[in-house]
């Protein structure tokens, strides 16, 4: 998808991007959205932001994390605790949750010198250890019975825009990272750590930076999630299935691209909703089959498919 974007100038991308965002922002005002649709769209926004942030690590640096639920959960519970403890505006609580999640992500520093499968499996271990720790820290998380937040329907309504705003910020950040020197440095680390080090690109520093940023954004989405659903429970927030969700969204859309995780998250949320309603017993397996097909036939996922279509269109050919 970045290749597709490279054929378009930055101005054109902004021109394409703005109407979409504006339409989405106006939608709840002009159309009478049902609660179901409103829920689904907010959920999709949160998922997009999380998938994009996962992709900074999993796609740009090439370090596939199976433990991002740890930061999601930390962000969610810190924000929830702050909201329950003091009458601060919710956005401040989310930001605090995100900040703590970013700091927690730095705790993964020792694992960041691992590459490939070693890193991925270490993140499974860290994620599961975090889940156990927080499930049993009942004073903070409420244990298996979870935490309930005061239900605030006005806030719930406003969260639509907050979440849309987060999506705009995170996609803009993804796009800027991709185009900046930082993006190239991450790409160098992904391609060959040792060669990157020879050129003065410190894998340790950049991976810490990206992992902390990615963790902070995922923590922020966790905090907003807590506010939106008014109830959170550690086994769900820190669950392995949630970590898998981030991976699936990015892979379905196209790992390492900017538009990919956006598409992937939308498809993931819709598919999940549909499958849970119609075929709850096949839900996991179908994701598995999807994952297998994508890796075998189109490693760039939906973005790869779109790129193929785009190349067939006459306008994609540069004028001679």
């Amino acid at each position: 998808m970045t290749r597709l974007f490279r054929t378009l100038s930055p101005t054109r991308i902004v021109l394409l991007f703005l109407p979409v965002v504006a339409a989405l922002a106006l939608l709840p005002l002009v159309a009478d959205l049902s609660i179901y649709t409103h829920n689904l769209m907010t959920l999709a926004f949160l998922s997009i932001a999380g998938a994009l942030a996962w992709n900074w690590m999993g796609g740009f640096v090439g370090q596939v994390s199976f433990g991002h639920a740890a930061m999601f959960g930390v962000g969610g519970f810190v924000a929830a605790r702050i909201i329950l403890w003091a009458p601060v505006p919710a956005p401040l609580a989310w930001i605090a949750g995100g900040a703590v999640a970013g700091i927690v992500a730095l705790g993964a520093h020792p694992t960041l010198r691992l590459r490939g499968p070693y890193f991925s499996i270490a993140t499974i271990g860290l994620g599961e250890a975090t889940r156990l720790f927080f499930t049993y820290w009942e004073d903070f998380t409420g244990g298996s019975s979870g935490l309930s937040l005061p239900i605030d329907s006005a806030m719930k309504h406003r969260l639509y825009w907050w979440c849309l705003g987060l999506v705009v910020l995170v996609s803009a950040a993804s796009w800027l990272i991709r185009r900046s020197a930082l993006g190239l440095q991450l790409l160098a680390i992904k391609a060959d750590v040792d060669a990157a080090a020879d050129l003065g690109v410190s894998a340790t520093f950049y991976q810490d930076l990206v992992f902390a940023l990615s963790g902070a954004v995922v923590g922020l989405t966790g905090g907003m999630w807590a506010s939106y659903f008014s109830f959170i429970e550690p086994n769900d927030m820190f669950g392995f299935d949630r970590s898998i969700g981030f991976v699936l969204m990015a892979v379905i859309g196209g790992v390492g691209t900017v538009l990919g995780p956006v598409l992937g998250a939308v498809v993931f949320v819709l598919l999940r909703q549909y499958l849970l309603a119609s075929y709850p017993q096949l839900y996991l397996g179908l994701y598995g089959v999807l994952l297998i097909f994508i890796i075998l036939f189109e490693p760039l996922g939906l973005s790869g498919l779109l790129l193929r279509l785009w190349r067939r269109l006459p306008i994609s050919r540069p004028a001679v």
Binding site: T111, Q281, L286
Partner: protein, 291 residues
């Protein structure tokens, strides 16, 4: 003192199980450089197959073990031929192979949910509750049998890799697939056989653990992590190293009960995994591939 002996004995017995499952993961990584992320899924599948054979046909788990091993071997051949073979080799294939095998694990889990629901199951036989007294410690017969298998199977595998033509070919491919092609070893065939051996060990480990622990379609991630700890700690594919590493993990896990609150003992394996990866990524005994 009695408690100490009891704990030591149960650690030793557990180590046999850990060694079996770790060897299954280690041999695949050692030869193909692929981490079988579906390892936990195959362990779970082995447990269910043994459970079905015991429940439907009344087969004792030790009589059904050849069937489970053969079925898991075929499953592994299938996984290699249908999936893993199509991946790019080398570092580029790393994330792809993880995601691919992870997808397969999800499929296995779903199939198990469909067939057997999500309830916890375990294999209980007439001798599951029996125990023998050794050195003042009560030792359950099933754990003792698991240890016996956990010692015999890796040793048999060691002899197979050292003494037979096929075993030597597997070790040669682990060292250098290109030169193997030059001297006429069918590398693809060796890869699929190795994958089959790896999954058959996982299936066997699943069957063994089903006689001691409860399982459900979602189980397997703990087993995957433990296998990985042992593989990394013991060095890829070294039989003795794997055995020692399995013993270390089992001892640490079992004795953690003495110092840690019980709810945290489950996290010991995960924490150890991270510590090992960070401080001894080459294993306790340095890098060694199959031998």
């Amino acid at each position: 003192m009695e408690r100490f002996i009891d704990l030591t004995v149960s650690a030793v017995l557990l180590a046999g199980l850990y060694a079996t499952m770790a060897y299954g993961l280690g041999i695949i990584y050692g030869v193909l450089r692929v981490v079988n992320l579906a390892h936990g899924g195959v362990i779970m599948a082995g447990a269910y197959l043994g459970w079905v054979l015991h429940g439907r046909l009344g087969l004792d788990p030790y009589l059904s073990s050849p069937i489970v091993v053969a079925a898991a071997y075929l499953l592994g051949m299938f996984m290699y031929k249908a999936l893993v073979r199509h991946l790019p080799r080398g570092p580029a294939g790393g994330p792809a192979s993880l995601l691919l095998l992870f997808g397969f694990w999800l499929v296995l889990r779903n199939v198990a949910y469909l067939l057997f629901t999500g309830n916890d199951q375990s294999i209980t036989t007439a001798w599951s509750t029996r125990s023998v007294i050794l050195l003042d410690a009560h030792i359950s017969v099933s754990r003792l049998a698991v240890l016996a298998v956990g010692v015999v199977v890796p040793l048999a595998l060691h002899l197979f890799l050292r003494r037979t033509y096929l075993g030597r070919a597997i070790r040669a491919v682990a060292q250098n697939p290109d030169s193997c092609t030059l001297v006429g070893v069918d590398v693809e065939r060796i890869y699929s056989i190795t994958f089959g051996i790896g999954t058959s060990l996982a299936g066997l480990a699943g069957l063994l653990s089903a006689t001691i622990f409860a399982f459900n379609p979602g189980s397997g991630s703990g087993e995957l992590l433990k296998s990985f700890v042992v593989v990394v700690l013991g060095g890829m594919g070294s039989v003795l190293g794997t055995g020692i590493a399995a013993l270390i993990l089992a001892v640490v896990e079992v004795f953690a009960i003495l110092v840690l609150p019980s709810y945290l003992t489950a996290a010991v394996g995960f924490v150890m995994l991270v510590l090992v990866l960070v401080f001894r990524p080459g294993g306790l005994f340095g890098h060694r591939v199959l031998g």
